[in-house]
């Protein structure tokens, strides 16, 4: 312990400020770091690699669908492509992205803690994630999987002739990484809040991560063991779901969705947390109905465990079950709507600054409302029988999970980038990027709503039975191209900003919160020079607060005059 402490003050420091980045530049110091901020950055880099892999697979799928009879891939390969897209994006990107990157980085900062409760466990969780990811990549290059990311039995357990076991191992290991992170978050939130930081003074970001961690603790083991049962059936013929043994393959679906529906909330709740922070900051207004937003996070987490059956409306449920799950699913709309209305009310009579993070946060609202409302169609029994298994569902969950999570991830990264790296990015490029991504997203997925409503089934390679679908598919693929360009834009300017970006002041947005007000420009290894004492409620904004940094100071190379 003390050995690492000694290294912290390198003698060669030429009046360079000491922070968590400059404290040690060696590669080794990054790979064995116990600093939650560095681990967050490692996660960020890794998560983006997987996002790229998943996007390439999506690109193949979209390209194939530009023709009713496919383009270049065999149908077998097409199945492996959409499975790769789903598995990589869900298990290695969406479930991880916001909690492990932004949560890891900012939870201790917001709580006024020097680190997460268990830094070594945190590092272990990163390596578990990396290990799981490598298993996934090995599974991909050694042939891939063709079951879809849902691994339905008996296809996955008996008939599929692909790398099911390897992929399941990958998901299983990644699950343990999530569990480790969730345990860390729960302990840190319970036990390491700064003096004066009561539960109802916590930023909503923290509440959201608390609810998320509970879902991870309760849900992840279920899917882990369910998938493991598929693997042992393939390996040892221990067949709990096997119809040959009098088992019920639909039981797999029940257990799989018991986790995988709440998994959507693992993706979207942290996103909502991010958006709450940003909207309050750039509306210069207290979050309207703070307690309701906090409680609705928990309510969504709780209700989320009672809706899984809506995935089986068309696979042999009793009327009673179906009605129950339909009702419960519709109820999720209530806490979700509470959040949306409260955000809208927060904007009302606020002093709104349309910065890049704010633009993304508003974009999140746009996508989430469309995703949420179309979700209500799907929760309706009669309508769902028509829509289930079509592109309508595909579009719906992309709007919710992908639109929601990615917009919020980008919002969060843009909001906290000055704190994470000490650099500004050019405001103008930020907004251009946001507009391209936002419109690319609608171009990609709007046509899929129509396709699904017209009856195009998901996961089909050919649609020569209905060539009129081609126009929509081509449009959707073009949208995916726009989206790809859109994602390039922030990657380029954010990377450039590391070298050329204007030096960010400690609190460029004049935001509230411990992470902005009580830390250095870039936080030091143990975050705070002394543990802060909290004396006020969260989001103590007023419309007379200083405005955020002016756009001219965010250009590359801009220098801001010191205001002491």
């Amino acid at each position: 312990m003390s050995k690492t402490l000694d290294k912290k003050h390198p003698n060669n420091s030429h009046q360079e400020e000491v922070n968590y980045i400059t404290v040690d530049y060696t590669m080794k110091s990054w790979f064995i770091t116990k600093d939650h901020k560095r681990i967050g950055m490692l996660y960020l880099a890794t998560v983006l690699v997987f996002f790229f892999v998943g996007s390439v697979a999506a690109g193949f799928v979209r390209f194939e669908l530009t023709s009713p009879t496919g383009q270049i891939l065999e149908s077998e390969t097409f199945n492996r492509m959409f499975t790769a897209h789903g598995v990589v994006m869900i298990f290695f990107f969406l479930l991880i992205a916001i909690p492990a990157v932004l949560g890891n980085f900012f939870l201790p900062l917001m709580l006024g803690a020097r680190d997460l409760a268990f830094p070594k466990l945190n590092l272990l969780s990163y390596y578990l994630y990396l290990g799981g990811g490598l298993f996934g990549v090995v599974a991909l290059v050694s042939g891939g999987v063709d079951t879809g990311w849902t691994f339905y039995t008996p296809l996955s357990s008996m008939y599929s002739n692909s790398q099911v076991v390897l992929t399941i191992t990958a998901a299983f290991i990644t699950g343990f990484s999530s569990i480790a992170t969730a345990v860390n978050f729960i302990v840190t939130i319970h036990k390491m809040r700064a003096p004066g930081l009561t539960w109802f003074r916590l930023p909503l970001f923290v509440w959201a991560h608390y609810a998320t961690s509970i879902i991870i603790l309760l849900g992840t083991p279920v899917v882990a063991i369910t998938l493991a049962l598929v693997a042992v059936e393939r390996l040892f013929h221990i067949g709990v779901f096997s119809p040959e043994y009098g088992g019920d393959p639909v039981l797999f679906q029940h257990m799989f969705w018991f986790y995988s529906h709440p998994a959507v909330y693992i993706m979207i709740l942290p996103a909502m947390g991010v958006v709450s922070e940003i909207i309050a900051c750039f509306a210069r207004n207290r979050v309207f109905g703070y307690e309701f937003i906090a409680a609705s996070s928990l309510a969504i987490g709780g209700l989320g465990f009672l809706v899984w059956g809506h995935h089986m409306f068309a696979s042999g449920e009793s009327y009673f079950q179906a009605a129950f799950f339909s009702l419960m699913t519709s109820l999720v709309a209530i806490p979700s709507a509470i959040k949306v209305f409260n955000w809208a009310a927060t904007l009302y009579k606020g002093m709104i600054y349309l910065t890049t993070p704010m633009a993304y946060a508003i974009g999140f609202l746009g996508l989430f409302v469309i995703g949420g409302l179309t979700g209500l169609y799907c929760s309706n029994l009669g309508v769902d029988v028509h829509l289930t298994g079509t592109y309508f569902i595909v579009a719906h969950f992309h709007y919710v999970m992908v639109g929601g999570t990615i917009m919020a991830l980008l919002a969060g990264i843009h909001f906290w980038w000055p704190k994470m790296t000490g650099r500004m990015y050019p405001e103008i490029w930020g907004k251009i990027g946001m507009l391209v991504i936002f419109s690319g997203f609608h171009m990609t997925f709007m046509p899929q709503f129509i396709l699904g409503f017209l009856g195009m089934p998901r996961r089909y390679h050919y649609y020569h039975f209905a060539p009129e679908f081609q126009a929509y598919n081509v449009f959707s693929t073009a949208g995916a191209g726009v989206l790809a360009i859109g994602f390039m834009i922030p990657v380029v300017y954010l990377l450039l900003s590391l070298k050329h970006g204007a030096k960010a002041p400690a609190n460029p947005w004049n935001a509230k919160g411990l992470e902005w007000e009580k830390t250095d420009r870039v936080p030091i290894t143990h975050n705070f020079r002394e543990i802060p004492v909290v004396t006020e409620e969260a989001y103590n904004y007023s419309i007379d607060d200083e405005p955020p940094i002016e756009a001219k100071y965010t250009k590359f190379g801009a220098v801001m005059e010191e205001k002491s």
């Binding site: 569990i179 345990v183 319970h190 603790l217 083991p221 279920v222 049962l229 042992v232």
Partner: protein, 230 residues
Amino acid sequence: MALEATHGNQMNPQKVYEQFEDIDQQNESYLVGMWSFLITEIMFFGVLIFCYTLYRWQYQPSFYAMSKLLDMKMGTINTIILLTSSFTMVLAVHYAQIQRRAAQLYALLFTILCAFGFLIVKYFEYSHKFHVNLFPNPTFVWPALDNPALTASVPEPVAKMFFSLYFAMTGLHGIHVVVGILLLGALSYLVWKKSTLVEDFMVTEMIGLYWHFVDLVWIFLFPLFYLMPK
């Protein structure tokens, strides 16, 4: 009970890691963390018990007949072994709290011995099942070789389902016992080497929690499989 030693005791000069304010906060964090982890463990086994419940509900008469194929004697011996090990684990935590290192080490070693004993009995049980071709893979022979009369009425698929559940659940429990042996072994080594990591009783306490959980799972599995009512 003259058990004075709790956290923060002067007798326990323990390292406080830099993210914590004091030893109390650290120890409480460990406990909250351990219990959170145990919740995930409960969900792990809960899923399997849920599957078991569904199928037993569906196939109760057959499951009852199948349960007679399990060796009640060995199951009982294993239950006694694990209960004993839980007791010695309690002793180990107690001796850790009052700083009696040698006694703690002996209690830990005895716990490990019990764990091995459990695995040895389990090994004989499993190998007997393989021997009479009751492992549910293509070598499965039905009706059961060692009791055809009892099992003649049980359809073969259900017999395979019973043994699938049996091997999945006791197998997962067995893996937990192996992990327990590794943890207890590492702990004993640290205690023997007088490592500063285990100066405080907290590490012993947490591994103790884990070990009690493993025992508790067996306390559920034993009646579910061996003591089934008609």
